[in-house]
């Protein structure tokens, strides 16, 4: 198509009208492009520089190398926070995807009142993390929540105190996070399941495959790209976990559920350790990059491969 058009266009030379038409998208996009550039790259660069300076209460620009990073990693609280991030991300992402997929598959069986179920499961996403965290913290608190309720039913020895146990508090956040996000995963999976060509499923039925085999071998592999997309979105939700942990446990008990984002906030605005805070922020960025860079590369690779196959 293009190769057909080009010679004549080249012969006549683009008129000012065509040039203008070509320039319009750039002109329209320019402000947001500039803003993105400044907010993302300039501020990231600035943070990176600050993380290598001796800033404390206020930013200063005296370069002192990697010392803030060394201080950061020498701190137990930071180590716990970073460790928590990985544990939380793994359980939260896998959990939300598993629950979301299960819900999607169940709803995909053409259940009655499908729209209602979809809305119910999607609803938590409309609630902010802070609200979710606050409500769930009431549920978790022994003398107001689930424990009180079950005891009032007669099981007077029942204990349910996830958030007050330093080994389990993290999982309380995981569970809450899964509650909040599995509807989102479900919506995407359901859209994926619905986009699968019905004939393929019929062909598999005739081929003698049972329901489980049809999902495992035919349907789910077809929507593999959706798995990846859901995973990436959930992972970056996970890495930014801040409000949920604050509202639910406020990093406690003790420092058991500290997350990097909480720690950054603390260092920067409570303790006046701006250099170390910036270093911690850069570490979060690194964790995000570990996820997003391979994903972007994969997307580019796939697009190129598809382009080749026509």
């Amino acid at each position: 198509m293009q190769s057909v058009l080009e010679p004549s266009a080249a012969a006549a030379g683009p008129s000012w009208r065509e040039r203008l038409a070509q320039a319009v998208p750039f002109l329209v996009l320019a402000p947001s492009l500039a803003a993105t550039l400044i907010y993302v790259f300039v501020f990231t660069g600035w943070t990176l520089y600050i993380s290598l300076s001796n800033s404390s209460l206020l930013p200063t620009y005296k370069f002192i190398g990697l010392k803030p990073y060394a201080d950061l990693w020498a701190n137990t609280r930071w180590n716990i926070a970073y460790h928590n991030l990985f544990i939380f991300s793994a359980f939260y992402v896998v959990g939300a995807m598993a629950v979301g997929l299960l819900l999607a598959i169940v709803i995909d069986q053409r259940v009655r009142g499908e729209a209602i179920w979809r809305t119910i499961f999607l609803y938590p996403l409309a609630v902010s993390f802070v609200v979710t965290g606050t409500v769930w913290s009431w549920l978790y608190t022994p003398d107001t929540g689930i424990q009180l309720f079950v005891r009032s039913l007669g099981w007077s020895n029942f204990t349910f105190a996830l958030t007050t146990d330093r080994n389990l508090a993290l999982y309380a956040i995981v569970i809450t996070g899964i509650w909040q996000s599995s509807g989102f995963a479900m919506a995407l999976f359901l859209a994926g399941l619905r986009s699968v060509d019905q004939d393929i499923i019929k062909a598999a039925q005739i081929d003698g495959a049972g329901v489980f085999r049809i999902y495992a071998r035919v349907i789910l592999p077809t929507i593999a790209p959706i798995f990846l997309a859901v995973m990436v979105v959930l992972l970056q939700f996970a890495i930014k976990t801040f409000d949920l942990a604050i509202a639910l446990t406020n990093g406690g008990p003790g420092i058991a559920t500290t997350f990097p984002a909480i720690y950054v906030y603390d260092l920067m605005f409570q303790r006046g350790q701006i250099a170390q805070g910036a270093a911690a922020a850069i570490m979060i960025l690194a964790a995000l990059a570990v996820v997003l860079v391979p994903y972007s590369l994969w997307l580019v690779w796939r697009k190129r491969r598809e382009g080749k196959n026509g």
């Binding site: 393929i200 019929k202 039925q205 005739i206 071998r217």
Partner: protein
């Protein structure tokens, strides 16, 4: 013995009755084609035979077994879809093995069957590719391969060639015919292309608005269409329908048709159909190839030949033959001519009508008389 029997089969989607009492049967090894215009229920019927749609009422038997509520996988059928429905994430090889794996066929047997079918369809070179990397024709072959690796009682095809370009379609049609000769499996083949049905099938079921209009051998359907729908649907260009009146000419039965300016023409009837007609008004059905330039010498060999004047309004040469549209009173009739004796535009042709091949229809019931 019949491999497939469908008896008084009905299907409703909600209040809409899509199939209205279908009767059909396929003898062992037979190739049955289902033809009909879009939306007449062909795919629905096929899906019901496959078990992909539930039966509202009636019976489907495969062999002797009543299969109304048997799951698709237990019906011993294989199906080729219009969209091919290849598993997009699997290679051609995996696509073809999937069914056998599901049925727990022993490994060595799987490999042997795969090799045999791949050789039969000449797709050995494609086995490692994914469907996305195949051309339409190759996908079509793979879809057939996936059906052939099984040894089912019944093959079902749902418009397998409709996504191919014209040339490839003709080639694949020939191949399917050869394949059927070689494999000899009972086949039900859905198509809306009447040429495909004519060339492939040993019997054709012509469907319209959810019922079978006629179920017979191709040539009989062509020569003796049961009603005006079948007559008009089978054959291209379509049969000409000319309102006429039964009369007598010299003591023999004849037809009178209206020409322009109140003139009439009388055509001697060859057959004794006149005795079966219930009213004087009939509709004469004559196929384009039974119109020709009137040749008094040929008349001796073709006793049914009568002549008629008609102005030529349009000429469409297609190479092998020339289609001409002529005026007959208020009607346009289409004739099919040898290019050597084709009329030219504006010519007033003396038309020979081969009444030996004419069909008469009852205008009220639209059935063949």
């Amino acid at each position: 013995m019949s491999a497939l029997t469908v008896h008084n089969l009905r299907k409703s989607f909600g209040a809409v009755e899509v199939l209205k009492g279908i009767d059909l049967e396929a003898r062992n090894g037979e190739f049955v084609a289902l033809v009909g215009p879009s939306g007449c229920g062909k795919s629905t019927l096929l899906a019901m035979i496959a078990g992909l749609e539930s039966v509202t009422s009636g019976e489907i038997r495969i062999g002797e077994r009543l299969v109304n509520s048997v799951a698709p996988k237990d019906r011993d059928i294989a199906m080729v879809f219009q969209s091919y429905a290849l598993y997009p994430t699997m290679t051609v090889r995996e696509n073809m093995l999937f069914g056998m794996e599901s049925r727990k066929v022993p490994r060595p047997e799987q490999e042997a069957t795969l090799a045999r079918v791949a050789a039969l369809l000449q797709i050995e070179a494609l086995l490692k590719r994914k469907p996305g990397q195949l051309s339409g024709g190759q996908r079509q072959r793979v879809a057939m391969g996936r059906a052939l690796v099984r040894d089912p009682k019944l093959f079902l095809f749902d418009e397998p060639l409709s996504n191919l370009d014209a040339k490839l379609r003709v080639d694949m049609r020939t191949e399917i015919k050869k394949l059927h000769h070689r494999v000899g499996k009972t086949t039900v083949y859905v198509t809306h292309d009447q040429v495909e049905a004519m060339t492939l099938a040993s019997r054709i079921a012509v469907m319209h608005q959810g019922s079978v209009q006629q179920f017979d051998e191709p040539q009989r359907i062509y020569d003796h269409p049961a009603n005006m729908f079948v007559a008009g649907f089978m054959g291209s260009p379509a049969m000409n329908f000319i309102p006429a009146e039964l009369t007598t000419e010299g003591g023999k039965p004849a037809l009178t048709i209206k020409l322009a300016d109140g003139e009439t023409a009388t055509l001697a009837l060859f057959d004794n159909v006149a005795s079966r007609a219930t009213s004087k008004q009939v509709i004469l059905g004559i196929r384009p190839e039974h119109l020709s330039r009137y040749d008094p010498e040929a008349r001796a060999q073709k006793p049914g030949m009568v002549s008629l004047h008609a102005p030529v309004e349009l000429v469409e040469p297609t190479g092998a033959e020339t289609i001409a549209v002529m005026r007959l009173g208020d009607l346009e009739i289409v004739g099919r001519f040898d290019p050597d004796e084709a009329p030219s535009m504006g010519e007033e042709i003396l038309l020979g009508v081969d009444m030996a091949h004419a069909c008469l229809f009852d205008p009220a019931t639209r059935q063949l008389i």
